[in-house]
């Protein structure tokens, strides 16, 4: 039987604690249609997907499959109804074979308990042949040591098992090269031809324009647009996602630039090679490139997490070779890492303890803390950055993403470093807080800090940086002054064909 929508959500809402993740969202996904789902981080896309795959249950509203209401009470129930979600991070079990990984949870038995290996291999072979993957993956191969691209492929194959009604791709191209992405698109077109409903989530709007039939835009847990792709373009999508023109977020002023504070010469670690750059006092240097181009690895080299195998570094003209991050803190370098929760914050501990973690020398004598001086210092910086918290004794984990990030900034402001490295500083932060963070970054530069800004968000990179350095395949592929930098030029440097890149380096 057919229905206009293969899967439809009607008026669903979902709340986690104080956060309203979804607010009365209604969306239909039609068969043989690619529906793009776009929105900023935290707009509710992931929550919607988790609901479809049976991980979360809606507080109100319901889900229809072929027009009939269903209860997606568990991942198993969702899977049985043909709803498959492909996650960004491939989840592969190294000890199992390709076939076992693909058909996990759906292996057939022989004599009630024994694994029917022949059947498993046959089904896997059929599946791989259908999507022309049989030359790259063998069913009996163990998955230990497979490349990220192949792991992603297995993750995708898992969703392509027979019986799929709706397949959702969550940022599937983030770890793929352009070539690999092209192959993925042909798989998607084939699925579409077979009548499967496709949901495609991506931040790469250009990809979406070429691939999707329809586009659903989400913002702050609500559906703000649901249009045929033909009626939208990139600029319109961005406007809908952000809710206001992006340029409003930045007001560039002339910056006075001082001496070189951080200098890298031919730096190489196990993941990057031949990286040279300089950052001057009062300057914001953007570091652009695709995910996996080695930007975060540059930050890791600077703060001493990844050891150098070649090259040298200088801070304020003096040689600098960190063995561990404490050396970098002492040398006056601060890092606001990409993964706030894992790498920056002690979530159960108070705002106070989190801020004072890097400034013990300012508030202690002979190793003993002065609680009075600690409170004064933390209070000062927390109020200066307008961190919204009931008190500085509040656990950081209970604050919103934007306020958590401000706590990380407050920490470094209390320390007063010379160089600040910001790795995706506005990831997972709502638009209002974003603007505040931008103001903050600009004012830090005005105070004379040298700032290295790593960002995947083009407007942020182009709007804040004095210069943009672009990376590709672990090394610098070009540099642009802000006056010349456009989104197209940055992308061109980030995705330059390999041959041209090599020739340029050789010359």
């Amino acid at each position: 039987m057919s229905h206009e929508h293969a899967v439809e959500v009607v008026g669903v809402s979902k709340r986690f604690g104080v956060v309203q993740a979804l607010r009365d969202v209604s969306v239909g996904f039609a068969p043989a249609t690619v529906t793009a789902l776009v929105g900023e981080n935290g707009a509710g896309k992931s929550t919607l997907m988790r609901m479809l795959e049976g991980e979360h249950q809606p507080d109100s509203g319901h889900v229809l499959v072929d027009g009939k209401p269903v209860s997606l009470s568990s991942p198993r129930a969702a899977h049985a109804l043909g709803i498959r979600v492909i996650h960004q991070e491939p989840e592969i079990i190294p000890e199992l074979t390709v076939a076992e990984n693909i058909f996990i949870g759906d292996m057939r038995s022989r004599g009630a308990v024994f694994l029917d290996r022949a059947d498993l291999i046959r089904r896997t072979g059929d599946l791989l042949r259908t999507f022309a993957m049989d030359e790259v993956l063998s069913p009996t191969q163990r998955c230990e040591g497979l490349s990220p691209a192949l792991r992603q492929l297995i993750e995708i194959m898992r969703a392509l098992r027979p019986g799929a009604r709706l397949i959702a791709f969550d940022e599937p191209t983030s770890s793929l090269t352009e070539d690999e992405a092209g192959r993925l698109f042909s798989v998607i077109r084939r699925l579409k031809a077979d009548g499967v409903a496709i949901v495609y989530i991506s931040h790469r709007l250009r990809e979406i324009v070429g691939l999707a039939d329809r586009c659903v835009v989400m913002r702050d847990g609500q559906r703000v647009a649901d249009e045929p792709m033909a009626r939208l373009d990139e600029a319109k999508m961005v406007r809908l996602m952000v809710g206001r023109p992006v340029s409003d977020l930045f007001n560039r002023r002339q910056r006075t630039v001082g001496p070189v504070l951080l200098k890298l010469s031919g730096v190489a670690t196990s993941k990057i090679h031949d990286v040279s750059l300089e950052i001057r006092a009062g300057e914001i240097v953007g570091l652009g490139g695709l995910v996996g181009a080695g930007r975060t690895e540059v930050a890791r080299a600077i703060i001493g997490v990844d050891p150098l195998v070649a090259g040298s570094m200088e801070v304020s003209g003096a040689a600098y070779l960190p063995r561990e991050p404490s050396d970098s803190v002492r040398a006056g370098i601060g890092l606001v890492p990409e993964d706030r929760k894992q790498e920056a914050l002690l979530l159960q501990q108070s705002v106070r303890a989190n801020v004072s973690l890097v400034v013990p020398d300012k508030i202690s004598r002979l190793g003993f803390f002065s609680h009075r001086r600690e409170r004064a210092l933390v209070d000062h910086h927390v109020s200066q950055l307008r961190v919204k918290t009931p008190s500085i004794d509040q656990a950081v984990g209970k604050l919103s993403g934007g306020n958590q990030q401000k706590v990380v900034f407050a920490r470094w402001q209390a320390r007063g470093p010379k160089v600040l490295i910001l790795d995706e500083p506005t990831r997972g932060i709502d638009v209002g807080a974003k603007a505040e963070i931008y103001r903050l970054i600009e004012s830090l530069a005005e105070q004379g800090l040298a700032i290295l800004l790593i960002s995947s968000e083009m407007p942020e990179l182009l709007g804040l940086a004095n210069r943009v350095i672009v990376m590709q395949d672990g090394t610098v592929s070009g540099e642009l002054a802000w006056q010349d930098a456009t989104e197209e030029m940055v992308l061109a440097l980030a995705m330059r064909p390999e041959t041209e890149f090599r020739e340029r380096k050789a010359s």
């Binding site: 899977h79 079990i93 949870g105 292996m107 694994l115 497979l146 691209a149 090269t177």
Partner: protein, 328 residues
Amino acid sequence: MTADITNVRPASRGWFSRIGAQNVSLLISLVVLLAIFGALRPDVFFTPRNLINIGLAVTILGILAMAQTVVIVSGGLDISVGSIVGLSTMVLAVALQETGSIPLGILACLAAGLLAGAVNGLIIVYGPVNAVIATLGTMSAFRGLAYLMNNGNSIPIVGDGLRLLGTGTLLGLPFAIWLLIAVMAAFIVFTRETIVGRNIYAMGGNPTVARLAGIAVHRYQVGIYAMSGCAAAIAGIVLASRTMSGQPASGSQGLELEAITAAILGGCALQGGKGTIVGAMLGVLIIGVLNNGMILTSVPTFYQLLAKGALLILAVIVQERQRTRNGE
């Protein structure tokens, strides 16, 4: 994608990959140990009698190590097995005393082990309590129960039926060794050829995948700990058939530690998802040969403890090195 595809490691199907690099290095260590002790005591070491002795000495440890391997692969740890061994010998002795029937006695013993293990699993799943803490607690509690059964005294077992299990032979091999072989075969089939067995690797290797694939993780956990308890009861039966008594304190001399050592030596990763039965048995044999060889070459018993502690740490260091080299 083409760039990556051409770099794919060929799907090797040789004997080397089937046995696994880990097991090959264990096999080499075992051969080296055999060669050393064989050279030091050529007159006795390789006699059939001594080899059978080694086999008998590792029966109990082997059964426990294999069960522990499955627990560790699933992402858990069971340090109460030694206490369950002691408890099950007591249950066996009491049941034999009461019924006089060996099948009933063995049944009661296995049921007690199964129940004890299931209690572990239920606490871990529904507490939920960290596996180490939970089995630490029940380790003490089960030992206490064993003491309670006869005011801390042992119970003698009379009758020849059980003695036969301890002393009887078939085709020149003692029954206990046949039992070890049977248990090993069952475990190998279970971990390699059953759906549940394969799912356990998924569970320990990546709990998220397991859950999303609809594997009933909680039920599996209870079942795995129950299985571990049951295996401990089988070990208890072997032990009781040798001492011909129920001993509340038996299995308390660090048996659980040795079982974990053997499993880790055999390639289990404490993080879960990795490890094989064959590897665990190779680990057990290395420990057994080392023990036997040290006795034959008159190494003072005191040094044996030192050697075992060092072996455990060495095994983990090697594991850790391999893990970081694989870039996991």
